[in-house]
Every structure is written in C-alpha cells, then in structure tokens.
C-alpha cells in the first residue's frame, strides 16, 4: 500500500455507518463498531460531568476559606468526580471504545466472540450509570470514591446505597466486556496471526481484560456487603459490633489497585501503536513490552495494601506489600525505555497522536517515578493522603490514561469516521493539554510535600499560592479538552475523506476501508508477517 495518497480518497459506498439508519439500527446493533460509538457518546457525557465537578472544586480552592461551596457540596463533588472518572469514564474509555472498535479488526475477525453480550454490556453500563446519576441528582453521595467504612455505612446520610448499586451494576458491564475480549483474542484470530504477531494494543487489552475479570467481582461483592451493612447494620465493618473496618479496605483495594492498571494498561497499548506508527518502526523489544503487560496484570494484584500503610494495618504486612509494590515499577519502566528506544533511527512525524504519545511517555514517567515515593514505607507516611498522592495519580490517569485515550481517538478517528480531523487544531490542543496539565498537577506535588491534606475544602492560608497556580492550570486544561470536542464533532461530518490508511501505518485495521464494512473485511485476511513490519515494506 502506498504511503502517499496520490488520488483523492473517497468514502466507500457502503460501510458500517451507512448500512442502516434509524435509532433501532443503533440501539439494537450487535456490530462492535457501533457499540463502540454508543460507549463513546456515554463516556464523553460522563467525562464532561466529572470535569465540571473538578472545575467547581478548583474554583473553590482559589481561596483558602473556600467561600464558593459549602463543605458538604465540596465533598459530594470530589466523590462524584472520582467515581465518575474512574468507573464511568476511564475504565470504559480505551477498552470499551477503542478496544471494542479495534480488537476484532486488529485480529482479522468479523466481530467479537459474543456480539449480543457486548450490546448487553453497554445496556448494563448505562443502567449502572443511570442508577449512579440518580444517586447524584437525588442528593449526591459524600463518602469519597473509596467508600471507607464505617463512615459510609453508618455516619453519612447521603445516597450511599444507590451509588454503590450503580458501581455494582456497572462492574458487571466491565466483567462481561473483559470476558468477551479474552475469548475473542483467544479464539477469533485470523489465520497466521500468532500470539507474537499480535499488535501490542491487543496484548495490553488482554492484560486489562484479565484484571477486569478477576478484580471486578471483588468490588461487586464488597459493594453488596456495604449495602447490606448500611441497610441492616449487622456490623461486618463496624468495630462497635466486632467488625473490622480494615477488612473493607483490603477488599476495596484488592480491586482498587488493579483497577488503576485497568485504566493505564489499555492506554499503554495505544502508545505502543502510536510510537510504532509515527516512527515507522517495529516497537523496540516487542516481547519485553508484551510480557511487561502480562507482568503488570499479575503483579498489580499483589500490591494493594500500599494504599494502607498508615491505616493501622500490620506494619509487617506493610513490608511485604512495599517490596511487591516496587516489583510492579519494573515492567512499567521497561515499557517506557522501549518506547523511547523505538524512535531511534526512526522516521518520526509530529502528527497530533504522536504529540500525545510523547506527552504520555514523559508524564507517565513522572507519575511512575513519584509512585516510588508511595511504595517506600517511610516516605509514604508523610505524603499519604496529601496532594502528593492526588498529583501522582493524576499524572498516571490524566497524564497517562487520558493522554493515551486522546492520542488513540485521534489516531483511529479517520478509521472510525472515514474522515480527517483538522491537524493544526489537534496539535494546538495537544500542546494546550500538556501545558495545562503540568500547571494543574505539578504544583500539587509541592502542596502535598508541604503537607496539605487531600479532600479539604478549606485550607490554611500558606497553601494558597500553589492552589491558585493549580486552579489557573486547570482552566487551561479545560480549554484543551473542549477544543477537540468541537473539531472532532465538526470533522465527523465535514472533514475530508481519509482513505483506508492516512498514516501509512501497518496493522490489519489499515487494510480495510475507512470506515470499515459491517463485517470489517471483504474477505478474511491471512497474516504472514509480524506486527509493525515497516522495514520490509517495498524492500
């Protein structure tokens, strides 16, 4: 396939978007590509709801006395922000949108293994989201996204049960999505597509799916116990009746820490694709990157109690978990080094997705390194539950996961819509997001180091200047997120047709038309080469 588009590309006559019309053709679709769109709409909505909550919080924190919001309102806002961003935006972002759209295409299949189950997952997700929104609108919930007991079970009188129910329900959506992906990747690969010819995006989606399958049920049962305890008050987490509040934290973080890797692993997969495509190189150390995904998936389950070093947990258990937590840093470091090395002797272009990828690698590095502080027992004692933590996980989740998601959306947008977005605007917004992000969360590292606790709606005056900087950065960041919304929407209708392979990239998804036909390929592709075989081209 030529890398230079000589003739002006045009959209194919029939593709998955125009094969049928009407709301029934969307709401009852079993086409994984259309389901990806359903998720895209839902999570975009949730992203801006969560973002609005964050905006209000940052506005409130401009002044130490926090005169904009009542403390109770502020508490509801950070709870809603956390729960929405984690369960209703980030968890489904890359897996349910890009994963759904791409996994079958990348492995040369007609659809996922269980298309109806896939649609069911979306409905379960929407049900969970609606129940959660009902909890929010009907008075909110103010326990923090962690639902720590006995605060959540006994001492707050907000909508804990319905919020927990929303999380419980949406958890099954994630489980079923993960199940679908695992089976699809195992059983549906095109002829010749061996495991070590798979794109690295598939490897990391596989790893993330494994975490979905093994971690989500634990949060589900924990939410059940939480609801029962709140309803019947039998004392399972209430020390007054012999319960152990730290048990809740164990169960929560057994899910909670792997959840972080659910959020970041898919984005790591995206970055592998982007770096390869825009450096026109096979990813350096393919097998190391592939196995590091699997290693992360496994080790992520062994580190959960580093969230609990000061919780009153046994300090000896702390030693074990600290050691294991350092172990999870290694595979992440391997990924970063390999991505960077991939550019060596490459042909690097500066298209918007690559800007996101470079941003991701740098910011994820910073997020990962600050993770070392938190895995270190002694250091964690001081920075635990301060803004240091807040900054750290936003570097991972926003600097990492969201950057990866946006990079992926830009990269595959021509495939999803068949049209190109305006490149200049895209680069501009990538730059704005990078600058705004660092301004927002960089100062928070210092804030945490000097001791400002998280989840404070008012704070001592000496912390003000850093908070003002952070809020100023947040306003830049907000602009950076709104610009893509506008130009992507515009381009979906008015952008110039992209042609099957606008980037000159390798991978099965670029062999089919843009947008692809309903069954992805006119005939089942047969794979004869490894992934990212750029150098062999036209050789």
């Amino acid at each position: 396939m030529s890398t230079v588009a000589v003739e002006v590309p045009a959209l194919p006559d029939v593709h998955y978007l125009n094969v049928s019309y009407g709301w029934r053709s969307w709401l009852l679709t079993t086409d994984h590509k259309r389901i990806a769109w359903l998720y895209l709409l839902a999570i975009t909505f949730f992203f801006f709801v969560g973002g609005a909550a964050a905006t209000l919080m940052r506005l409130n924190l401009i002044e130490p006395q926090g005169s904009l919001l009542e403390p109770a309102t502020y508490n509801k806002l950070f709870t809603v922000h956390g729960l929405i961003m984690i369960f209703f935006f980030l968890a489904p972002a890359v897996p349910a949108v890009l994963g759904n759209f791409l996994i079958p295409i990348m492995i040369g299949a007609r659809d996922v293994a269980f298309p109806r189950l896939n649609l069911l997952s979306w409905y379960i997700f929407m049900l969970g989201g609606s129940v959660f929104l009902y909890a929010v609108i009907g008075g909110g919930v103010d326990t923090g996204w962690t639902f720590y007991t006995p605060l959540s079970t006994t001492y707050v009188n907000t909508n804990v049960i319905s919020a927990a129910m929303g999380i419980f329900i949406s958890g099954f959506s994630s489980i079923l999505t993960g199940l679908n992906f695992v089976v699809t990747i195992h059983k549906m690969r095109a002829p010749g597509l061996t495991w070590f010819r798979l794109p690295l995006f598939i490897w990391s989606m596989y790893a993330a799916s494994v975490i979905f399958i093994l971690a989500m049920p634990v949060i589900a049962i924990t939410m059940v116990l939480l609801m029962l305890e709140r309803f019947f008050h039998v004392g399972i987490f209430d020390p007054a009746l012999g319960g152990d509040p730290i048990l809740f934290q164990h169960l929560f973080w057994f899910f909670g820490h792997p959840e972080v890797y659910i959020l970041i692993l898919p984005s790591m997969g995206v970055i592998s694709e982007l770096v390869a495509a825009f450096a026109r190189k096979r990813v350096f150390g393919y097998s190391f990157v592939a196995f590091s995904s699997v290693a992360i998936a496994v080790i992520s389950f062994l580190v959960w109690a580093h969230h609990m070093f000061v919780s009153g947990m046994s300090i000896y258990a702390g030693l074990v978990f600290s050691a294991l937590s350092f172990a999870v840093a290694i595979p992440s470091a391997i990924k970063v080094f390999n991505w960077t090395a991939t550019m060596y002797q490459g042909s690097v272009s500066y298209d918007a997705p690559m800007l996101y990828a470079i941003g991701f690698i740098g910011l994820f590095t910073m997020g990962g390194l600050t993770g070392l502080f938190l895995a270190s027992l002694a250091v964690d004692v001081h920075v635990h539950d301060t803004y240091f933590i807040v900054a750290h996980f936003h570097y991972i989740m926003v600097g990492g996961a969201v950057m990866g998601y946006l990079g992926g959306i830009h990269y595959w947008w021509p495939k999803m819509t068949g049209r190109l977005y305006p490149e200049g605007w895209a680069r501009l917004s990538a730059l704005i997001i990078f600058i705004g992000f660092n301004l927002t969360f960089g100062p928070q590292f210092i804030l945490g180091y000097v001791g400002m606790p998280r989840r404070y709606s008012v704070y001592p005056a000496e912390f003000q200047i850093l908070n003002v900087m952070s809020s100023a950065g947040a306003s830049i960041l907000a602009v950076g997120y709104i610009i893509p919304l506008i130009y992507l929407l515009w381009s979906a209708r008015y952008g110039p047709p992209a042609g099957p392979n606008p980037w000159g990239a390798k991978g099965l998804e670029w062999l089919t038309s843009s947008p692809p036909p309903t069954h992805n390929f006119e005939e089942t592709p047969i794979v004869t080469e490894e992934a990212y075989a750029y150098a062999q081209e036209e050789a």
């Binding site: 195992h186 494994v210 093994l214 152990d244 389950f301 062994l302 046994s314 300090i315 074990v320």
Partner: protein, 110 residues
C-alpha cells in the same frame, strides 16, 4: 475441540464417591481431631470439588486453556486470602521499643 462423551459408568462412580465423601465429612464433624477437624473437612471438600471439576465439568478432557483459567481463579483467590491474612495475623505484633538518648540539640527558636 472435539466433543468427548463420558461413559455413564464414570458419572455414576463419581457420584457414589461424592456421596461417600459427604457422609465421611459429616462423620468427621462428630469426631475429635483437635485442630485437624477443619483441615480434614477442607481436604475432603477439595477432593469433592476436584472430582466435580474433573469429571462432571469435563476438565479432564478439556484443552489446556480452561485449566489455565481455573488455575488463575484459584490462584487469585489464594492471593486475596493469603495477603489479607498477612495483615490480620501480624497486626498485633508490636515493634520492640527503642532506646532513647536525649541527644538534644538546644531548642532553636523558630
């Protein structure tokens, strides 16, 4: 995967063993084995579960992948239990106190 049809005899045999194990585990509950009561009960339960998995659920005749899935499930359950117990079992061990010398640098005014 080729379908494998298990002879009826094997099913009946497994069933008989399961029933025998149930009787055994109930009998053990009435016998004083000290701390081994729980161990024996759990060992019997594991045997029964293995029989069900191997024969009723056809694990014996299945491809490797399902075994890996099963191993993962059991392994992760073990992780959850074992690592939680590292905390609970050692939570009340207190660190030994250390000596204290007032190496007092004279208090500096701030």
């Amino acid at each position: 995967m080729t379908e494998h049809i298990v002879p009826k005899k094997i099913y009946i045999l497994v069933f008989a063993i399961l029933i025998a194990f149930t009787a055994l585990t109930t009998a053990v509950a009435y016998t004083d084995l000290g701390p081994f009561n729980t161990v024996v009960a759990l060992a019997i339960a594991v045997c029964k579960a293995s029989l069900v998995v191997l024969f009723f659920m056809h694990m014996k005749y299945n491809p490797g992948m399902t075994r890996i899935v099963l191993a993962a499930a059991v392994g992760w359950l073990a992780i959850l239990l074992a690592l939680t117990l590292t905390d609970v079992s050692s939570r009340h061990w207190l660190p030994a106190p250390q000596g204290w010398e007032s190496s007092a640098p004279s208090p500096r005014p701030r």
